[in-house]
């Protein structure tokens, strides 16, 4: 893959309520780079700084020290640039369906593009395209967002951010609280947006299975530090470290680690597909433990 950096984070520190008794370090010396078209997963225990980090990347929170550089420009160098960063780096919060407010789905998705000051035709094009990415039908566009099901609301909210056509799309647990079909749908929606726009995706998730399957690279946050930054295959070889950080590894990886301990000659595996291919190879070769 041709790596072209889009978002760089340099020595980021963030302290909540600095200078008061409630002072709390949320991020310490975090540095990493996101490249164009990359799908990056973020994992970390509750309170490890994931949500704080996300809000730094589109200028909702100002770093105590350090820089967030979007396409070569520090997002805090100018007020206009900060505002631009909000549009270029789309942020989907946890349970985004609770932010819907308009009378119709169409108007709600159009809220972001409208704030960008686009022309009416351009807004219309973007709303329809965004709705297409998440599978919202023409009829649903005219419905009230409050008449939709939970999963549909979630997709409308994601479309509301996608409609701004951000180059970097950050999602905080986009599949939390959804059934397996809803999860799969949302993940494939995100993937199709990435493919169509060569956008960078950063997804916070508690599902190791999801991040193992979807991402090119994993950032592991622990105690407000960036503990690991590596492809999932590599991250999941540090099973014990992850468990010590209050995290987990995919179930299939656990099974294969056990198999290895039992003396079977298998690689580290983190998706079902890999497991199937290795197991069938073993079966054919009739390899004995």
């Amino acid at each position: 893959m041709n790596l072209e950096p889009i978002l760089q984070v340099k020595d980021l520190n963030y302290i909540y309520s600095a200078g008061t008794p409630f002072e709390h370090k949320a991020l310490e010396n975090v540095s990493f780079t996101l490249n164009r078209g990359e799908f990056v997963g973020v994992i970390g225990h509750t309170g490890s700084g994931k949500s704080t980090l996300m809000q730094q990347l589109n200028g909702l929170l100002k770093p105590t020290s350090g820089q967030v550089i979007l396409d070569g420009v520090d997002i805090w160098s100018d007020k206009k640039i900060t505002r631009q960063a909000r549009f270029r780096v789309g942020l989907v919060f946890q349970y985004p369906e609770y932010q819907l407010f308009e009378e119709t789905v169409y108007k709600d998705i159009a809220f972001g593009p409208k704030n960008m000051g686009l022309s009416a035709e351009e807004i219309d094009r973007r709303v329809r395209e965004a709705a297409g990415f998440v599978g919202i039908t023409e009829r649903q566009l005219q419905a009230s967002p409050f008449d939709l099901s939970g999963g549909q609301k979630r997709r409308v909210a994601i479309a509301g951010v996608i409609a701004m056509e951000p180059e970097v799309l950050i999602l905080d647990e986009p599949t939390a609280g959804l059934d397996p079909i809803g999860r799969a749908e949302i993940l494939s929606n995100i993937e199709s947006y990435r493919k169509a726009k060569n956008a960078t995706i950063m997804m916070v998730s508690h599902s190791m299975e999801d991040v193992a399957r979807m991402t090119d690279r994993l950032l592991v946050l622990y105690g407000s530090h960036l503990a690991m930054d590596a492809p999932p295959a590599e991250v999941f070889t540090h099973a014990q470290e992850l468990v010590d950080m209050g995290l987990n590894i995919p179930q299939v990886t656990q099974i294969f680690l056990h198999l290895k301990q039992m003396g079977l000659d298998v690689d580290n595996v983190y998706t079902i597909e890999q497991a199937v291919s290795i197991l069938s190879r073993l079966k054919e070769g009739k390899v004995h433990a």
Partner: protein, 268 residues
């Protein structure tokens, strides 16, 4: 940003004032306020001030936080001072601007008025700083109990108050979250005319109301699941009981009132 709002914030502690029965504190706060209006001169004001300082000292509340709580009231204080400054007759005239004059009497009144308001507010702060919202409503409920004879739904009112207090931080947090989500979609709350800014709040208020209703609904269901049916036959986990601290407090306050009344009677 929104989290910085203090709404009669409670400072947990173990001082005698914290340990007092909430009813004692409520009654004595009322007594204190009434006494404050009986005070008329330097001596009685001084006595009240000494009492207040003593109470703050005992409560171990940092005086800084009491001062900080006064900040939003600066406007009212200045306004009162100006009114008293110009609209009092008598005494020696000091400055005259058109038909308005500042006299020594006006100066004295303005000074005493601000002093009184400051003492009044600090006194009530002391109540809310040392009493948790729950015990405060418990105390109110218990004090209003006689009104049940007149079919006033005392328990229900107290319950409503506890629930409202309980949800203030939750709703503040929720507002923060929704504002951030809309900001991420380019909403702008900081620039533009007042009308623009008011309009910009619609995307925050609508989801906030919806979530408030949703929470109310969920809470009602949860309460019903646990067979809540109002105050009828309901017992309390923490019974309110007057202790020795309360008796001492009543004694001290009686002395205070007697002192202020005597000073006022002698016209000192």
């Amino acid at each position: 940003m929104l989290k910085d709002i203090t709404l009669g914030q409670f400072f947990p502690g173990k001082s005698p004032i914290h340990r007092m029965d909430p009813r004692t504190k409520l009654i004595l706060t009322v007594v204190y306020i009434v006494t404050l209006f009986l005070a008329t001169n330097w001596f009685s004001y001084g006595l009240m001030m000494a009492f207040l300082v003593l109470c703050i000292k005992i409560s171990t509340i940092p005086p800084k936080s009491i001062v900080r709580g006064m900040k939003p009231l600066v406007f009212i204080l200045v306004f009162t001072a100006i009114l008293n400054l110009f609209y009092s007759d008598g005494g020696v005239e000091l400055v005259r601007i058109g038909s308005l004059a500042i006299t020594t009497e006006g100066l004295k009144r303005a000074f005493f008025m601000i002093w009184r308001i400051l003492m009044l507010i600090s006194g009530t702060f002391l109540l809310t700083y040392t009493t948790s919202p729950i015990s405060l409503t418990d105390g109110l409920e218990s004090l209003m109990n006689p009104l049940k004879k007149l079919h006033v739904p005392v328990h229900e009112l107290a319950m409503m108050m506890s629930i409202a207090l309980r949800f203030i931080p939750t709703l503040i947090e929720e507002t923060d979250k929704i504002m951030n989500a809309q900001k991420a979609r380019g909403a702008d709350f900081e620039t533009g005319s007042i009308i623009d800014r008011a309009k910009a709040l619609v995307p925050v208020l609508v989801p906030l109301f919806i979530s408030a209703f949703r929470r109310a609904d969920e809470l009602a269901t949860a309460m019903e699941c646990r067979c809540y049916q109002g105050g009828e036959g309901r017992t309390k986990m923490k019974l309110l009981r007057f202790s020795r601290v309360d008796i001492r407090a009543f004694e001290v306050c009686t002395c205070l009132v007697a002192g202020v009344v005597t000073l006022a009677a002698f016209g000192l």
